[in-house]
């Protein structure tokens, strides 16, 4: 006789506030997990970029060298390098351990909204308000970009890389998917200015949030809409959205101080996480666990599925 199948665990949601980190760097423009989720990066408006330990909430390093507020950051797959972009039109490649500037990449004509490493950290891709995506080589000593993707007609607001594909969201209301392997550019018209784009974890869907207060899940290969998520407020700010680590939920920042969490399949609102009174600027989901980072004003909050006490008790038991 067969054992009954274990009941599938209900999808967990990061609804318990684990800790609040006061970053002391002005307004936090973006908060990002590193690739394995043990550290987090906070981009401050006081020109500094800070590296924190996720588990303890302690400051590990401050990277200063930008000339204006830092807008986005990304860490390489091996945690040895960080790239960050700023309103000072530059992209900086940092050495994590020493905190030194490895490379300062100039070329954008306006502030750089988003930056991303390629999978092997061989290329830095940065999207700017000047409407271009620049591909910077980290291997050679060239300071000019390898290629400038100037197809967008307005500011690039968001940018993601997955394997050989590059996804950009632009204020001209289009999501562009550059397929390097195929040599194709797919342009999906959304009509409202895009604030954030994401790949799903399985790489088959794209998520895009736009200023008409809608998050859309599109099929990557055909551009068909698979889901639409509304209820939050996103009218004027460039706010983030993301998918949970197991692609079960869609999360988005909101201007009403909440993080909205929808079920991906049903499209129903499953959690409305109250973060604070102000606008939730940025959020980032842990790559493997159920853990969420939110940034509001000068604070970064860490949310988990279980409260911290339980964790500690569990540790005590073991």
């Amino acid at each position: 006789m067969a054992f009954p199948q274990p009941r599938p665990q209900a999808p967990q949601l990061p609804q318990h506030l684990l800790r609040t980190i006061d970053c002391q760097q002005g307004a936090v423009r973006a908060v990002r997990f590193n690739c394995d989720g043990n550290y987090l990066l906070s981009c401050g408006s006081d020109k500094s970029l800070k590296l924190w330990s996720m588990s303890r909430g302690t400051l590990l390093k401050t990277y200063s060298g930008h000339g204006y507020e830092v807008l986005d950051a990304d860490s390489s797959y091996d945690n040895s390098q960080i790239c960050s972009c700023s309103s000072d039109k530059t992209v900086i490649l940092w050495d994590v351990a020493t905190g030194q500037v490895t490379r300062k990449l100039r070329g954008h004509a306006g502030k750089v909204n988003c930056v991303q490493f390629s999978e092997e950290a061989t290329v830095i891709l940065s999207g700017s308000i000047d409407g271009t995506v620049r591909c910077w080589d980290t291997r050679s000593r060239r300071y000019e970009p390898i290629q400038v993707l100037d197809e967008a007609r307005d500011s690039i607001s968001s940018l993601k890389v997955a394997q050989h594909e590059l996804l950009t969201g632009s204020v001209d209301g289009r999501v562009r998917l550059y397929d390097l392997r195929m040599g194709q550019l797919h342009v999906d018209f959304i009509s409202s200015p895009i604030t954030c784009v994401c790949f799903s974890q399985d790489g088959q869907c794209t998520l895009s949030s736009s200023l008409d207060s809608t998050v859309r899940l599109l099929d990557k290969s055909t551009g068909e809409m698979l889901g639409e998520y509304t209820g939050h407020k996103m009218k004027g700010y460039k706010l983030d959205c993301c998918l949970s680590s197991k692609d079960t939920h869609v999360l988005s920042c909101s201007e009403d101080g909440h993080v909205y969490c929808w079920d991906l399949v049903e499209g129903s609102l499953s959690l409305k996480l109250p973060v604070g009174k102000a606008v939730v600027q940025s959020l980032s989901f842990h790559p493997s666990e159920t853990c969420l980072l939110t940034a509001m004003e000068g604070r970064v909050q860490v949310w988990a599925s279980e409260p911290e006490e339980a964790d500690e008790e569990a540790e005590k038991v073991f």
Binding site: R139, E151, H186, F189, L226, E266
Partner: protein, 755 residues
């Protein structure tokens, strides 16, 4: 104890204060040294900083003279420490009078003060004039042995110290000078007479060609009067005191301290001088034997000069006057003799003085002169019958434009409106051609009379202008003259390139012209054409043959025709234009994402980018990067139309068909019919029933049917929406077409207007 330490050398000077008790030596604790700011300085010993060991009695630093410790670490290697002399100097040494001054000063080589006798003397005189005479005696004694550049140059030119600078003077002028000077000296120095007499003796024996150096000149002393003493007061002169000398008889206001200077100049003094201190307001010492001297000095006006510059003083010191020119008579030849023989190597004196430029006054203009340039009448080469066109061309291109260009070919700026009109082939405007026609007959007659009267003067020019107005016949002959015998048949301008048959006829005409055919025009025209067309073409050919005659295209030999026709009218546009936004917008509002909103372009990634992303180059060997560009007509209406002409990507590869069927691929027929949202809701309802693995949910929904449709197609055909949406879409596209047509008409209209 202090006295014992003071060693004494030589004889003690009899100071005179012998009986006065010596001052107590300053005790050691009162021997303080202060710096320039009044702070106490402590002496630290000569090798431990001296006085300048400031900064809490250390040497410029907290550590004082502590030797710099050897420091070496992993990060900071011990640097090479080279101690320079400056490291051991303090600010005193760097100051103006220190051993290493930091300020920029004149180096001794270029300073003219050294060994300059006259200046030294002037300085000495200044010293005499100072309140304490003999002030600068020490400076005079200690003079460096170096000479300034100027002095060395002068020496090389033969100058000797004590001499003046300038051309040699003849004996006579020198004597005159001496005579002038002797008066002063004579009073002051009895010995001057002896010198004078010596000069007198020399005069007899001196040959004519012996010249003498000019007398040295002492710079005028402009030192201001500093003391409270009166004018002409002299302090106690130690020289006088030692030598013993009475007060001068004559006070020369403009020549102060004359005898002091004369002494400095080395004038011999004869007679014994009595020692002792003498000077004004000092009275007579008890030891003086000369009692009859006027102790209490009485001044009298007779001792002053009452006339400024009445007599010429011996050394030409004229108070404020500038030094005189040495050679009064300019016309003296052989000037180099007057200079000392030695002239610097490489230089010679000019035999003749530089000739003064004679400037002639400009000629006076005639009364009726008008400052307008006139061109002389030129020879019309082309009109000369015997001249071949080649010669005419050579003449024209050679120099100075022998031929004034005919108004027909002299560029469009020189044509008047009538000529332009004939060139363009326009008809003359109807209506009155001139204002004259609007006038009444009698007024016109009066005006004509007036004009005739004025024309009488400029008859010739009017004749010429009448010559130049060319009739059609003359133009034909002109064209014949221009083209006859020309062998360059290739590479001429082809004015009728757009119309090949016309061009052919034109070339035929040109060939006949070259052969000298008189009626080339009529024979080369097409007889099949109407009379009107033929006359028109005749005009055109003649005009073209004159305009593009070989001489005016002489520059064309230097240029070659472009190999590729450069089309300026094209612009680079991306080959694949984006489709209509309105359609997409409509699709978005209907939430019909997918084919309606998606567009796929061919995109060329950079080769290096592919390498960095570890993917093969999708377009190996293609040079383009980014979206492929094509050249389009710049002013084409189709640039503004965003209608897809060939939307289909050329190398569009079929996306990999996903073999696995996802839940979204439910029923394709249904998908075809239903609205997408309906489908989604249906899918959702389905998922509610059978949710298994949410992680793998979003998967490809591309089906083979869809790809087939897409590869087939262009924009609107692909649209396969449910039936309900079709009319609306059709209406929209029709509307946009209408707008396009209208705008294109507008464009054409604009173009017509422009041209």
């Amino acid at each position: 104890v202090a006295e014992m330490e003071i060693g004494s050398f030589g004889d003690l000077i009899n100071v005179g204060f012998k009986n006065k008790p010596l001052k107590k030596p300053i005790p050691l604790h009162e021997q303080t040294v202060k710096d320039e700011k009044g702070r106490y300085k402590r002496f630290h010993g000569a090798f431990t900083g001296g006085f300048s060991a400031g900064y809490f009695n250390t040497v410029g630093s907290k550590e004082g003279w502590a030797p710099s410790a050897f420091v070496s670490s992993r990060q900071q290697k011990a640097g090479k420490q080279n101690a320079r002399p400056e490291d051991f100097m303090d600010e005193e040494d760097f100051s103006e009078h220190g051993i290493a001054p930091r300020e920029i000063t004149t180096s001794s080589e270029f300073s003219s003060s050294r060994r300059d006798q006259a200046a030294e003397k002037a300085k000495a005189i200044n010293a005499q004039a100072a309140l304490i005479p003999g002030d600068t005696l020490l400076e005079e004694l200690i003079a460096p042995a170096r000479l300034s550049i100027g002095v060395e140059l002068l020496r090389k030119m033969g100058w000797k110290e004590g001499q003046g600078v300038g051309p040699r003077v003849k004996r006579k002028t020198r004597r005159q000078q001496m005579d002038g000077g002797s008066r002063v000296y004579g009073c002051a120095l009895p010995s001057a007479g002896a010198e004078d007499s010596e000069d007198d003796d020399d005069e007899e024996f001196a040959p004519e060609n012996v010249t003498f150096a000019p007398k040295d000149v002492t710079p005028v002393d402009f030192s201001p009067r500093m003391g409270v003493q009166g004018l002409g007061y002299r302090g106690l002169d130690p020289g006088l005191a030692l030598l013993g000398h009475g007060a001068p008889e004559h006070i020369d206001l403009f020549k102060p301290q004359s005898e002091a200077r004369s002494r400095l100049f080395g004038d011999e003094r004869s007679g014994t001088r009595r020692g002792g201190v003498a000077g004004q307001a000092f009275g007579v010492g008890a030891l003086e034997d000369d009692d009859d001297e006027d102790v209490y000095h009485r001044d009298s006006m007779s001792r002053y000069d009452s006339v400024l510059g009445g007599e010429e003083p011996g050394d030409r010191l004229y108070g404020w006057t500038a030094p005189q020119q040495y050679s009064r008579n300019k016309g003296k030849p052989a000037k180099d003799v007057s200079y000392l023989g030695k002239i610097l190597e490489g230089f010679t004196l000019a035999q003749k003085p530089a000739k003064e430029k004679t400037i002639f006054p400009p000629p006076s203009l005639p009364r009726d002169y008008r400052p307008v340039q006139g061109f002389r009448p030129v020879v019309e080469v082309s009109r000369l019958s015997g001249v071949s066109p080649a010669l005419a061309k050579a003449l024209r291109t050679s120099r100075g434009h022998m031929v004034k260009e005919e108004p027909q070919q002299g560029g469009r700026h020189q044509l008047h409106s009538g000529q332009r009109r004939t060139l363009l082939g326009e008809d003359a405007l109807q209506g009155p051609s001139s204002v004259m026609e609007l006038l009444r007959p009698e007024d016109r007659q009066r005006l004509l009379n007036l004009r005739n009267a004025s024309n009488q003067t400029s008859n010739q020019t009017s004749n010429q202008t009448s010559n130049q107005t060319s009739t059609p016949e003359s133009r034909v002959s002109e064209a014949l003259a221009a083209w006859r015998g020309v062998q360059i048949s290739t590479q001429t301008f082809r004015p009728f390139e757009k119309n090949p048959s016309k061009q052919e006829r034109y070339e035929l005409y040109l060939n006949r012209l070259k052969q000298g055919d008189k009626d080339a025009l009529d024979r080369s025209l097409d007889p099949a054409m109407t009379e009107w067309e033929r006359s028109r073409e005749r005009d055109e050919f003649v005009r073209a043959s004159i305009l593009y005659r070989p001489s005016s295209s002489s520059l064309s030999t230097r240029f070659t025709r472009a190999q590729h026709q450069e089309d300026d009218d094209t612009v680079e546009v991306s080959r694949d234009q984006e489709g209509d936004i309105d359609d997409k917008q409509a699709a978005v509002t209907m939430k019909m994402f997918g084919k309606l909103t998606r567009e796929t372009f061919e995109w060329h990634p950079d080769k290096l980018l592919c390498k960095r992303f570890n993917v093969p180059d999708p377009f190996p060997g293609s040079g383009t990067v980014g979206l492929p560009k094509v050249k389009r007509d710049k002013f084409s209406v189709f640039n503004f139309l965003t209608v897809a002409e060939s939307r289909e990507p050329t190398a569009l590869l079929k996306p990999p068909e996903s073999m696995k069927k996802s839940r979204w691929d439910v029923s394709e027929q249904k998908k075809e019919e239903d609205c997408l949202s309906e489908m989604l809701s249906a899918a959702r309802s389905q998922t509610e029933t059978k949710v298994e693995k949410p992680a793998s949910l979003p998967a490809s929904s591309s089906s083979s049917q869809q790809t087939e449709v897409r590869s087939r197609g262009t924009n609107s055909e692909v649209i396969d929406p449910p039936e309900g949406y079709r009319p609306l879409l059709f209406k929209m596209s029709f509307l946009t077409w209408l707008v396009y047509i209208l705008t294109s008409f507008g464009l054409f209209y604009n173009n017509i207007n422009i041209y």
